[in-house]
Amino acid sequence: MALLQIAEPGESAAPHQHKLAVGIDLGTTNSLVATVRSSLSIVLSDELGRPLLPSVVRYMADGVAEVGFDAQEKQALDPRNTIVSVKRFMGRGINDIAHRESMPYEFEDAPGMVRLRTAAGVKSPVEVSADILNTLRQRAEAALGGPLVGAVITVPAYFDDAQRQATKDAARLAGLSVLRLLNEPTAAAIAYGLDNAAEGVYAVYDLGGGTFDISILNLSKGVFEVLSTGGDSALGGDDFDQRIFCWIIEAAKLKPLSVEDARQLLTCAREAKEYLTFHGAAPITARLNSGEVVDLKLTTGIFTEISQTLVAKTIQPVKKALRDAGLTVGEVKGVVMVGGATRMPQVQHAVGEFFKQEPLNNLDPDKVVALGAAMQANLLAGNRAAGDDWLLLDVIPLSLGLETMGGLVEKIIPRNSTIPAARAQEFTTFRDGQTALAVHVVQGEREIVSDCRSLARFELRGIPQMVAGAARIRVTFQVDADGLLAVSARDQTSGVEASVMVKPSYGLSDDEIAGMLKDSMAHTKDDAQRRALKEAQVEAQRLIEAVQSALKSDGELLSPDELAKVDAAIAKLQATALGENRRHITLAMDDLEAETKEFAARRMDKSIRHAFAGKRIDELEKISESAKGKEGNA
């Protein structure tokens, strides 16, 4: 029996409207934006029909930023101000950056994260990434014809907390509402799994421009379960370019290079690498500013030899991930290849040899991550009906822990734990009368603090004076669905509670973000005020729709009195959202949130209560519905 959807006069049909959401692959070398249109995931191209956006930003003295192909073209002319592969600097301190001396940038050491001095001023990697994201947002809004409800941004699975937080900050700075940070191999698995109706254990081998990930997943009946993940967040196609670059210098016996010449040769190296995917040898010719001429031939044999250790470096994490998943090579049904760097024949060969099967290459390795991210964004925006969706169970890549006595690490949440996850641990004081406790949060697998990444330090103060060992201080780690950590500590003794929430130290404060937003607005055509208002209106509409659809399915959980209050709050927000006052809209949203708090809790309880029993009742209802339908037709 077909059902007609009839909207009451004055009631918006909005709950059934398609919400504009995108998936963004923020890559080391290239970035992409994709969306789901007519239930197909597609990459959105620029006005010249080019799907990829080179992740290159050039800063000019007038403060303007050039992004993409235009910037890429000028990298040899203006290497100092043209930032490539900025993803490698996200959430990283100056000492974390390899090959720093051969890069043309002026680095500046800053607490938490390195900065770059450019013609347009000092830039944080977060700002550079935000410029890339901003370009993609504008592309998407132009193509889709309206502001976005939200975006799923992909990150390497092996990104640690600092790198994830930096990515989320960049998205905020670019005016994007982040629906979720999604691990790149998981995004690829969604695209592959849905397209091929795959079931069983799959490995996703993702070698991008600057990062390497391996994830082992179990795909079964609409559930994508990540069993383990591993990788190297500073290993990718760039490193293969670097090997060729060094080989050129050695083979052509070149003198020390200027930054311009170095940039030119790096481009030659990248082109030779790409050429070797389809040919047995690549010619390398260049005329340098120094007057020297390079004329070489790089064969597949030499390339395989000079990159052998890099390829081997990817196999170690693969072995570890398999062991963490408790699986052997024979149990893996397929190996999905992701990332442009997997086009290299020696990589294909090594992976095939290790897994004893031909890797799966039936997806475009450059696009698959963005396509999967778009599918997830479509799901998270609420564009798919219940029952027509899937469940994604992802994990954290690295263990989270605390520094204990003697510089040792106490692991609180082990790697490969399914997220969201929380774990609490009790600590005590070690001196009589101690009233403060220093908490140092670290991430990594090593047992010694100095070998792990330091995420945050904070102090819990106001512990009542007691003898050593009497205090009971509970430290709680909470990892959310984005893989981001929040830590709180509470003294449980004598009823006194002190608690503190930390945002890891490398993260930008809200004030810093606001300042950067203001700066960036000064150089764009966007009107900051209008944009903020528009965003608040979209948010308000989203909330109204969510509450209305909740009322439709579970309205009976409210008393008539409660229902009237919720209705009034909706009406008020609807009226306010038509106006121009952003602050009033935010306040009206807070009111509606407050009015529906108890309702939300009751709905959640109901949903869980019906998790098992509900299924059987649904079945019965369906049968009786269809019986009724027959009567009606007769």
Partner: protein, 175 residues
Amino acid sequence: MDFSDDHFALFELPRAFRLDAAALDARYREIAARVHPDKFAHAGDVERRLSLQWATRINEAYQTLKKPLPRAKYLLHLVGQDVGAENNTAMPTDFLIDQMEWREAVAEARAAGEHHELERLHHRLKHDIGERYDELAVLLDERHDPALAADRVRRLMFLDKLLFEIDDAMAALEE
């Protein structure tokens, strides 16, 4: 079903060490599909927070019940039996000697770079652990002897750690 229910009640499973793993998996997924933050990404703050709490709660419950060692510890905790891993490390001498021999064998294989030997030790230890779990099941589910079960759990904690060390040694050899 309630937020404060014990892990077994949460998944409507009998409170026992022997467990229907397929039922646990299916029920975990059933609830996860309802409470996961992905289902509430477009909802308001209140619902998002509730979903985070519930999803965290069921993940913890699932992880505890899925693996035998945490499951056994949890069962003992429910009946008020302290496993006393921190303060009661006094293990019988023969067990400790046995442990030392195992560790020596692992260290020797690691030093000699014998990956196959490590794999053999791993296999043997897994088999040994499997048999101990069978014994533990009888103690917990049939004889209802929490004190003796706690002792067996402590031994298994040693062996579990040893298994981890063998994994580490294998990983070290691969690097």
